[in-house]
């Protein structure tokens, strides 16, 4: 019987394999060829050319470390075409309550970074799920245009500040379940507004 790919990888990488497998591969042309192929592929992966980052990324880093941390949503990073945004927003606006399957543990991990001690799921409500979905929508939107009306920029900054403030309150350990619930509710409301403002901003630049 021929060696399977896991056995061949073990052979390639000097991991333990049974003596029978070792003897088979040494004697079998087909398996030996497969082993060569795996070795070659690994080399081809390592030889893929490096990829040069854009020059302007450093400026963004320098700006971020100079300023006190404030922005909840890193604009200018997600790239998606406007059409896909319209779709995403339509979906969010239509579904007030996302299906339960939309929330899962891994998404919770990421969210926990934004809201350090918020529970993965707030009991008795789907505000957390909605908040998460809105977050995903925002991330999927194109970068903020270089030129934005001052009023729009001000509104966005204000909304982000208020959301950041809520996140801060949510991280407070002594928060009552009701208090938590109400904060999540406020957060969802602010997020919805933010999505609308951002959407208008993107639409204006098309």
């Amino acid at each position: 019987m021929h060696a399977d790919i896991e056995q061949l990888l073990s052979l390639r990488d000097g991991a333990a394999v049974s003596e029978a497998t070792r003897r088979h591969v040494a004697a079998c042309r087909q398996c030996a060829d497969e082993l060569d192929r795996l070795t070659l592929l690994s080399r081809q992966l390592r030889d893929l050319p490096p990829i040069e980052p854009r020059q302007t990324l450093w400026e963004g880093v320098a700006t971020r470390v100079m300023e006190p941390p404030r922005a909840v949503f890193p604009w200018g990073q997600a790239v998606a075409i406007a059409a896909s945004c319209v779709l995403a927003i339509t979906l969010v606006m239509r579904s007030q309550a996302p299906e339960p399957g939309a929330v899962d543990a891994a998404a919770g991990d990421q969210f926990a970074e934004i809201v350090p001690s918020a529970p993965a799921v707030a009991p008795g409500s789907d505000y957390v799920a909605q908040s998460r979905q809105l977050e995903a929508t925002l991330r999927a939107m194109p970068a903020a245009p270089r030129v934005t009306r001052a009023s729009t920029a001000g509104t966005i900054a204000d909304l982000e500040d208020r959301i950041a403030m809520i996140d801060l309150k949510l991280s407070h350990p002594g928060l009552s379940p009701q208090g938590r619930q109400s904060l999540w509710q406020q957060r969802v409301r602010l997020m919805r507004t933010l999505v609308r403002v951002r959407y208008a901003q993107v639409r204006d630049t098309l």
Binding site: R46, L48, W58, R64, S84, L91, A107
Partner: protein
């Protein structure tokens, strides 16, 4: 041969010391030494230039904030690599990725949902190998890249991902199985992977 690896990141210890004292010019020099390997790693794993931008910037910010932790300058490349890998993994866990891909399923199905299908073009998508890599699920591709290219062990990968060693092994086997199906016998295709050399 163009090297993309972290092994080429060998900053002058004096630069590290200056940066540790808050010299932003020195930080910029450090950044220049690791930006390319970090960006390459992120592009290869995430297959989304916009997310790779984010990983590089997040990594750089963390390097600046935590550089004081570094005692031995020679540990710098490995330290930066660990930060970058963690940033990539946290991108994979983000809702943005999650909506299209179930991280745990790891099946080589379509890695995009309709909403995110129109992402920015993949870097050097012309080669068979990079096109095949793009077809792998992000999780499978990550294990393949960390193991075959970055030299992590299965135990280390399992640890990074909060999974077992055998999980990493089976993902690697899956990756090679899928590449085998897509590429056929890759021997002789070696020249095709050497286009668009950026160095």
């Amino acid at each position: 041969m163009a090297m993309a690896g972290f092994s080429d990141v060998r900053p002058d210890p004096a630069i590290i010391r200056r940066a540790q004292h808050g010299d932003m010019k020195a930080h910029e020099v450090l950044y220049a030494s690791y930006a390319r390997p970090v960006y390459t790693l992120a592009c290869r794993i995430l297959d989304r230039p916009a997310l790779a931008d984010e990983v590089l910037q997040d990594t750089a910010v963390e390097v600046i904030r935590k550089l004081g932790d570094i005692r031995e300058p020679e540990t710098f490349p490995g330290w930066v690599k660990r930060i970058a890998v963690n940033k990539c993994l946290s991108q994979l866990r983000s809702p943005w990725h999650k909506r299209g891909v179930a991280l745990d399923r790891g099946e080589g199905g379509p890695s995009l949902d309709p909403v995110q299908a129109d992402h920015a073009p993949v870097i050097d998508a012309g080669t068979d190998l990079t096109a095949a890599l793009a077809e792998l699920s992000p999780l499978t591709r990550t294990v393949l890249w960390l193991y075959d290219v970055e030299g992590y062990t299965h135990a280390e990968i399992g640890n990074l991902m909060g999974k077992s060693t055998s999980f990493s092994k089976s993902q690697l086997a899956r990756a090679h199985q899928r590449l085998r199906e897509m590429l056929g016998d890759a021997r002789g295709a070696n020249e095709c992977t050497q286009t668009s050399n950026n160095s």
